[in-house]
Symmetry: C7
């Protein structure tokens, strides 16, 4: 894996399912549809999780970048 910049990793993950962890401890899983330099993202078929269990299904979800800790493939 060769990456020039961190956002290249998000580009590689586009249209794939990712897990997103927020500063408030919440987790969202979904298909990564879009991101920008602020790390604002849009997930499709998003679901909120807690301790491995789905708590809520949310559909297309915009998440503000400054709330995000990490993004990793599901």
């Amino acid at each position: 894996m060769e990456l020039e910049r961190p956002l290249d990793a998000l580009n590689d993950a586009r249209n794939k399912r990712v897990l997103v962890e927020l500063k408030n401890g919440r987790q969202y899983a979904g298909k990564l549809k879009a991101f920008d330099i602020h790390v604002n993202i849009v997930l499709q078929d998003a679901e909120e999780r807690a301790e491995g269990e789905t708590k809520r299904k949310l559909g297309v979800t915009f998440i503000r970048g400054d709330t995000i800790i990490l993004i990793t493939p599901e």
Copy 2:
């Protein structure tokens, strides 16, 4: 669904009802009338909710972007 940038998802949601979750745990539902690159938004017919119940009706409401965690269709 093809999106170039995260704000495109907000553009698709314009004039539709959305649910907005804030960093302080509060939720607002309303029709998305406007947004900008800071994710400042305006909701029409906004209502504040807690645990699925309407707590307050607010009308046209400006919400400052840096308080927002996520925006999703209602």
Copy 3:
């Protein structure tokens, strides 16, 4: 109601009474006299409220934008 940008909603509210909620839980009501792109605002005949009751009358009050959660017509 048609709005291009969120600040247009504040422009529509100029010289009208608004309710402003801050991140620290406090509420201020007053006539919206001015705002800028940081959402710094000035209220005239401002009053601080808690649970629907007026706690303090403040007159012309400058409120720094980064403390604000939302602004809505009173």
Copy 4:
């Protein structure tokens, strides 16, 4: 009172006594001598207050803007 921008209200208050409330709950009263677009301010004959009582006299005091919630005439 007609104001174009919020900082105009601070300009009107220059050389008058104001009350400044900070995010940490502290209050400072003094004569407003200077301010800038970050809402950094300088108070002359500043005093720190708690519950209406003067706790400390501070003289010329520079207060960093990002600690400020509101500024109002004393």
Copy 5:
């Protein structure tokens, strides 16, 4: 070791294993694949640790720079 700028140290660490500590107290170890001026980073073969023990394996992980305290070779 001569460095002109702090990011030079991250460049020296590229493709080597590093330990990353976050503001929320969590630690991530992995191979540093990319970074930018915001200190956004990508780790390969990332694992989350607590008190020296591996809690989770995460694979390729994007970590937002503003959550990071320090980065050091493992």
Copy 6:
């Protein structure tokens, strides 16, 4: 005292002893040697204080501006 901008007050305090209060409640006293627009400062012969008592002597100390609440002559 006439000031155009808040940083003018810091310029007047250069090479004089000041008291600096931080967001975490700590106080530092020392001779103000330098400052910039972020309110980063350098104190010479700095000492950390708590409740009027010197806790530690620190010598030349760089303090990051975003940790500062206020700066006042000692």
Copy 7:
């Protein structure tokens, strides 16, 4: 000691041992190898300390500027 700007003090400290205190209360000592305008720094032979005792040795360590309160010669 004459300084034009605060970062000049960091320049004077380059290649000397410094003590760095973070917003989370942690302390790091090490040789200052690099810094930038965000106060991102790199320490060589860094060690984490608590109450005067060394807790961990870290080697070359990048510390993100926005976590730093102060930097002073050891």
